[in-house]
C-alpha cells in the first residue's frame, strides 16, 4: 500500500516517526515534492481565501499527491502534551481536506489527543496500525522504532544541526563568521525553502551563524514558559517564546528574526509577548519580524535582511572596539 505524506505542516515535526512506523508495517511512504510554484497555486486555488498560507500549501501538497497514492495520511493532531493544544487548524485539517471538491483517495486520519491521556493516545496508534496489520505486537514495535528515530532526529537538532539538514541526513559545516542570528517561527515556514525564500541560506551566505528554536534545550524552554504569567496553551508557540526569551536573556545572539505567517492566529498574539519582553529588556537584542504570505516578494526580503544585518554588524563592531 502506498501512503502519501504531504511535505507540509507537521511533516517538519514528525516525519521520521511517521516514515519509520509506516515502513515497518510494510507500507510504502510517498512524499510530495518540495513546495514549488505549482503546488502553491494548487493550494491557493483550492483553499478558501482566508486560510493561512501554510495550510494553503498543505492543500497544494495534498492535491499534487492524491493520484499517486492509495491513501493519504492526514492525522488530526489535537494535543501533543497534557494541558496544551496544537493550532485549531490542525484540529480541523482532515475535515477541511475532505470538504474539497476533488476525488480523493482514502484518508487516514486518526485523532491524537494527549490531553485525554496516554491510553487514548495509544488507542489511536493501534487504530492507525490497524490499517496495515492486525498484529498488535508488530504495531507496538513499529511505533517504538519510530519514536527512537524521532528521538535521534531531535537530538541532532539539540546538537545544533539545522532541521532541514537533519531531515535530509546531509550536514554542512556552519559558517565561521562572528555574527549569530536566531531565527524563530513555525518550522513549516522557516524550513520550507520556497516559503521562506531561502532565508537561512541567505544568512549563511553572509557568513552568519543561524540558531533556531529547535536548538534550545527543552529544559530551558520549560523553565521559561512555566514562569509566564499566563500559561501558554499552544505547544508549538511555547518553543518560539522559550527560544526568544532565552536568547534575549542570555544575549547569546546578536539579533532575532521572527518569521510569522500572515493571518496566523497564534503568531498574532505571541508577537505581543515577544515585543513586550524585548521592551522590558531595553531592546538590547534587535528583533525583526518578517510576515510571509503568498504575495511576499524576494526583493523586499533581501532589502530588509541587508539592512538588519548591516545594523547588527555596526552594533557588534562598535561594542568590540
Amino acid at each position: 500500500m502506498k501512503v502519501g505524506v504531504p511535505r507540509a505542516l507537521l511533516y517538519y515535526k514528525y516525519f521520521p516517526l511517521w516514515e519509520t512506523f509506516f515502513s515497518e508495517l510494510g507500507a510504502e511512504v510517498v512524499l510530495s515534492s518540495p513546495t514549488n510554484k505549482r503546488i502553491l497555486n494548487l493550494g491557493t486555488e483550492a483553499a478558501e481565501n482566508e486560510v493561512c498560507l501554510p495550510v494553503k500549501i498543505f492543500y497544494g501538497h495534498v492535491i499534487s499527491l492524491k493520484d499517486k497514492v492509495d491513501a493519504l495520511f492526514i492525522p488530526r493532531i489535537v494535543s501533543v502534551e497534557g494541558g496544551a493544544y496544537t493550532c485549531p487548524k490542525f484540529l480541523g485539517l482532515p475535515d477541511m481536506i475532505r470538504a474539497l471538491d476533488v476525488d480523493l483517495p482514502q484518508i487516514i486520519s486518526p485523532t491524537f489527543n494527549l490531553k485525554l491521556g496516554l491510553r487514548e493516545f495509544y488507542r489511536s496508534v493501534y487504530e492507525l496500525g490497524g490499517f496495515f496489520t492486525k498484529n498488535l505486537f508488530k504495531i507496538v514495535m513499529a511505533f517504538q522504532k519510530g519514536l527512537n528515530k524521532l528521538d535521534s532526529f531531535e537530538n541532532l537538532l539539540h546538537d545544533g544541526h539545522l532541521l532541514n539538514e537533519a531531515l535530509a541526513g546531509r550536514f554542512f559545516p556552519a559558517p565561521k563568521g562572528r555574527l549569530r542570528i536566531g531565527v524563530v517561527g513555525h518550522p513549516y515556514n522557516i524550513f520550507d525553502q520556497y516559503i521562506s525564500m531561502n532565508l537561512i541560506e541567505r544568512l549563511q551566505k553572509k557568513g552568519i551563524k543561524v540558531l533556531t528554536a529547535e536548538m534550545v534545550e527543552e529544559e530551558v524552554v520549560d523553565k521559561i514558559v512555566t514562569g509566564l504569567q499566563k500559561k501558554l496553551f499552544w505547544t508549538y508557540e511555547k518553543d518560539v517564546v522559550g527560544a526568544v526569551f532565552h536568547w534575549l536573556d542570555a544575549k547569546s545572539v546578536d539579533g532575532i528574526i521572527y518569521v510569522l505567517s500572515f493571518a496566523c492566529g497564534p503568531d498574532s498574539l505571541i508577537q505581543i509577548l515577544i515585543e513586550h519582553e524585548a521592551k522590558q529588556q531595553g531592546f538590547s537584542v534587535p528583533i525583526m519580524p518578517i510576515v510571509i504570505d503568498e504575495h511576499s516578494g524576494e526583493a523586499g526580503l533581501v532589502t530588509r535582511l541587508e539592512a538588519f544585518v548591516d545594523m547588527m554588524s555596526r552594533k557588534v563592531g562598535s561594542e568590540k572596539s
Binding site: 493550532c87 484540529l91 471538491d101
Partner: protein, 364 residues
Amino acid sequence: MKLTFPHMGTLDMVLSDLFSRLETDFIIPPKTSVKTVNLGTKHAPEFACFPLKVTIGNLIEGLEAGADAVVMVGGIGPCRFGFYAEVQNKILRDAGYDFEMIVLEPPTTDIKDFMKKCKKIAPKKTLWQIFQAVRVGWKKAVAIDEVEKKVLKTRCFEKNFGDTTAMHKKALAVLGKAITPREIQMARDKALSVIDGAKKDFENNPLKIGIVGEFYVLLEPCINFDIERYLGQKGIYLERSVYLTDWISFSKKNPVMGLSNDEVAKAAKPYLSHFVGGEGQATVGHVVKFAEEGFDGVIQLLPFTCMPEIIAKSVLPKIHRELDIPVLTLVIDEQTGRAGIITRLEAFIDLLWSKRKKKLSIVG
C-alpha cells in the same frame, strides 16, 4: 477601585445589574464607535482577531473615563480568546496605562483562584451573597436574551417601519428596572408583550435566514453593522445560533437558543467531526440544522483571521453540495465598510427569492 470591561451586545446591561447588586464601583465604556475601533487597531497587532482590537479600544476608553481596574474572563484554548486578557494587559501597559487586571479563569481550572477574584470584585459581599447576586442577575440576563430572540423573529412582520426596534428599547427599559426575582419574572412577561405591541402583519411568508458565526461579532451590533435589524426591516425572519447567556452558561444546554451543544455537534459531525475552538463546530452544526429546518439561507459572520470560523467556512462548500443551502460569509474587520456589506446582503436576498420561486414553480 473602579472596574471597567469590554462591550459585547447587551453585556453592559447584564454587568451593570450585577455590579450594582454587588455594590462594586464600575464605569461602562462609551458605546463602541469608529473611534473605539481606531484606538484598538492602533494598539493591537495587525492580524489579531477583530474582537481583540475592538475590546482593547473599549478598555482604553473605559480607563480614560476614570476606571482603574479591568475585569475579563480567561480560557484554556485552543482558540485565541483564552489569551485575550493576557495580551490586553501587556498592550495596555506598554501603552502606558496603569490599572489592576482581574482575570476570571474558568473555575474548573482553579476554583480557589476563582473565588479569590470574585471577592476582589465584590469586597463588600460574602461568597454566598455573590452567588445569590449572580443567580438573580442571571435570570435577568436570560430575560434580556429572550426579548432579543423575539425581536429577531417578529421584526419581519412589523407593519410600521421601526416599530419593533422602538418597542425593543422600551422592553429593555422595563427589564432594566427589575430587581427581585419576582420583579424580573413580571418584567419579562411585560417586556415580551411590549414587543407584541408593535403592529404585525402575519400574512406574508417571509424569507427565513439563519445567522451563525463567531459569538462576538454576532452579539455586537456596533461592529456587525446591525445587520439583524437591517434584514428584519427588509422583512426577513431571523434566527441566531448563539445568545449571550448561551455563551456564558457552563451547562451544555443553551437556555435561549434552544438546542444543546451535543445536538449541534452531532449535526456538524459529517462535515466537522471534532471541536476546533470558538464557535467553529457550532457554526457548521447550525448550518446543517437550518438546512434541515427549511431555512432559505444562512449568513456566517467571520472576524478577519478567526481560526475556528475559517475552518467552518472551509467545510461549507461540502454542506452546500449535499444539502443545497446557500451560505453567505461576511468577513468583518476594521476595513469592512457598511456599503459593501449591504450590497452583498441585497444580492443574497435576491438570490434566495429567486431560488424560492424556482422551487415553487417546480412544485406548482
